[in-house]
Amino acid sequence: MIHPTTTFMKQLDKLNPINDMLLDQGYYFQSLFQEVCASKLLTDSQIERIQLEIIDLLGKEVERYTNGESSSIPVEKAQVLLQSITYSIGVYLKSIEMSEKIDMLKQEKISVLFYKGMDTVAAVKNRAKLLLDNLAKNRLMVNNIAYQDTIAGLSEFFSAYNIEFESHEMPGSIDYPLLETNTTLLGVEYIFDYLRCFSIENEFLNHFSLQAIHDLLMGYHKEAEHMLINLFELVLTNAIGCDLLGLKITELNIPTKDCSWLQSNLEVLNADEIKKKLEEAFDNIRAEFNLETDIITYVKVAIPQLVSRVCHNLKTNTLHELFLSFAVKSQEEESFEDGIPMEDETLRDFIEELREIGVISDKVARIQEKVRSLNDFIELLEECFYGREYELVFKMLSETERAILKNKIREEAGVEELADYIPEKEWQKILLEYKTVL
């Protein structure tokens, strides 16, 4: 006896024999075209028409690319142009229903699909730009080079992205590893997906204090600044750990003795029970931060990975490597050592460079990246910022950095207590009033 569900599925398959999920998401048009041809959804003449129209369109694109000066190009370049054409068409086709896709292939000219594709690609690019702007605005001033450089480097994508001739390419640099990325995607779709995931992770990280994240990173490795690590994964793991221990989630610190307690409590459970525990802990985090659906969906996918890592670390008795405790600060780390100041000319050029940057967070990130001397930093404060900007700058600095600045003011003023000092400069006044402002 045939099960009614099976019959229904067969009928569905007849109506829609191509499974969209099985198509290659990067080379979507080629993949769809092959499936459509294999399923005999197009006649031979329709297939030939599509192929001829692609050749015509490629010829026209070659002409446009060479400004009509050359009818032949190197094969590698032609591959790029063809890939760009098929990518744009693919992006458009992805945006419509399967039955409509097949109708489009049957009836619509390839050039029309290409122009619609370029419009769709441009729309995705605009949406991705909005995500990046938002991300740059809400970025953490955390000390991790890959994190900071990737946000800065992504803006290069939008200036260098060539919709017409290289729409499948991804100019710019992406170093920061995310918990999840769809590596099958190409071009602006990949960037959009990357930024979407990055924004979700960043939104979650913004629930924690910068100091806690910094201490957690130091607990992970003292060279964490230079490492390619996913901050979200570290923070989420420790937040879950804190909840399991009944500690305050935002603390993020899991002391070694508590970790041993966690080890003894978790090792008696099987994988399903551990999964349930971790999910419950995440439910508490969700309720505490009132998380939105997209973060919840994102994390739900990550939980099974975390479960397998917990199980592994339990077996190897290394749970402390997963649930991290903050590093104990040594006296040496606490002391401040000034770096080498820049040459006058280099500093002048750098001031000019900063003056051209409009976003304050970008200015501060650039300073943190390049400036190694306190005197240079003070000069930049005086030359490149004014008025309310100082508040934002000081907000982006860590407690230690603000303390070092205050100490410098005290030394220069030659006073024992800053309360006795009447600041001469605007930035000094704002820094000394900073706590009151908050």
Partner: protein, 167 residues
């Protein structure tokens, strides 16, 4: 042909060219030059091979049509060697298109080929290939600010003679 083009049948890529070459016969007949149907197919076949050898791809009628029209009035081309010369010129074109790093347009390259072929090379394809165009493209690759003027090809010629004497 690369994998990228696998879903485009090669026959379709050549379809336009046949028609375009046939049309040229109407013009070249005035200069006593004509291609038979076999010649046209052979020429297209050679074109495909030349493109593959030089790692290039071409759309539409392509350059063969332009080469035919430009060289139709050459005093050094006559019916007996017509097909052979066109095949050589076609190969030469794609080779030097690569050698010039795409800096020259199709029309510029064909024009220079014709000028050298008719004047200093006196119809010698070997001289054209091994010396004149080689020198010209080398200048482009070395970023010479002013490429050799078409009227200044004597420089190239002298280079060639010097080289010949050293031999």
């Amino acid at each position: 042909m690369s994998e990228q083009f696998m879903f485009l049948p090669v026959a379709l890529l050549n379809q336009h060219v046949l028609t375009e070459i046939r049309k040229c016969n109407d013009f070249t007949i005035n200069h006593g030059l004509q291609l038979s149907e076999t010649d046209i197919h052979d020429l297209v076949e050679h074109r495909k091979e030349a493109l593959e050898r030089n790692g290039r791809i071409e759309f539409g009628g392509g350059v063969i049509q332009k080469i035919i029209m430009e060289f139709a009035d050459s005093p050094y081309i006559y019916q007996d060697i017509y097909m052979e010369t066109l095949t050589e010129l076609q190969e030469c074109f794609y080779y030097f298109k690569n050698e010039s790093l795409e800096e020259m347009s199709d029309d510029e390259l064909i024009h220079i080929m014709k000028k050298y072929f008719d004047d200093v090379c006196q119809g010698s394809l070997e001289f054209l290939n091994s010396s004149m165009l080689e020198n010209y493209c080398r200048d482009i690759r070395y970023g010479a600010n002013e490429y050799r003027d078409l009227n200044g090809y004597e420089d190239n010629y002298v280079d060639f003679l010097d080289w010949d004497n050293e031999e």
